[in-house]
Amino acid sequence: MPKNAASGENEVLYGLISRLADNKYFLGRRYAEWCSSAPTLESSVAAAAMAQDELGHARALYPLLKTLAPGLGAELEPETRTDFHRMRFLDSSFDGWIDFVTANFLIDTALSVIFEAAQTSSYEPLAGRSRKVLQEERTHALHGQAWARRLARIPETRAAFEASLRRAWDETLCWFGPEGKSNPLSEANVLDATPDTLRERFLAKVAPDIVASELALPVRATKKGWKLTTPLPWERWDVTRYRLDPAEEPVASSLAHD
């Protein structure tokens, strides 16, 4: 949080809106890079449409920052902003179409889970925008799920898709927020659930396709719903920037194999 920023409850809201707007903005920019190079003409057009949607959603969210922290000046516009709160997976261009599908399937879905939780938000400007965003996100979800099933089905793409999903998996799940029953956003009714519940809702959306496609990710079905089979790497979680620090490279073991 920069100096001259919001304080108290506004600071929590500023953080949430920043995370939503910045991730939407960079998701839109990354999608836009594939407007003319997706595997099919149809997906190129879909990428263009989804990019427009994401950038539009970001455009609708950034003005809220002005009401929460009017003294921040250049930090309130995406063109002049320097303190972005985006996921590490969106830091640079995708390595390939497979990363596009990973972002569409995991990150876009995670963002929608937050907007679903904000439809009846005590912060009305977010509630109204959430309902509109979700109308447009239905096609994004269909696109991500269908392509995920497809990449899992094709032997030549399956391993690369699994690797791409694993790169985004931990960060996307941590992104909902720290574990525990206490959370300022749910306590203030800005969101209707705690981060743990949001994670469960997210898993309920993505895990069925992951498990049905037998993709090797740490999630399984239980009687109470979908559960992670490995703990999340909270030791690498940057709670102020809402992103995961990179894992340390296993230098010693790689040298040993040389």
Binding site: S37, E42, T139, L142, W147, R149, R150, I154, E156
Partner: protein
């Protein structure tokens, strides 16, 4: 690097009948869907185009994003291979 280049670079291309390498041919959709839509309730559904996709979800997304020039009141997609020819052209 595009998706096609990515797979060509990995040597995953398949040989076309003429001997030319056809990169990741299996990623190409294998079904054509006819897109039908109407702009008013008193109009019948009419074909507005086709999309290529290998399942109904993707076909719906593609139809919606490609043929979005009007505020349609209804749009459907039908697999072209399910159409039954009554009078051949």
């Amino acid at each position: 690097m595009s998706y096609i280049d990515e797979f060509a670079a990995q040597g995953k291309g398949e040989k076309a009948p003429g001997g030319e390498t056809k990169p990741h041919a299996r990623i190409q959709p294998d079904r054509i869907w006819v897109v039908l839509a109407r702009r008013a309730y008193d109009q019948p559904l009419a074909q507005v185009g086709t999309v290529e996709a290998d399942d109904a979800d993707l076909a719906s997304v593609f139809a919606r994003t490609i043929y979005d020039e009007f505020a349609w009141v209804e749009m459907v997609v039908v697999p072209r291979d399910t159409l039954v020819t009554v009078i051949a052209s």
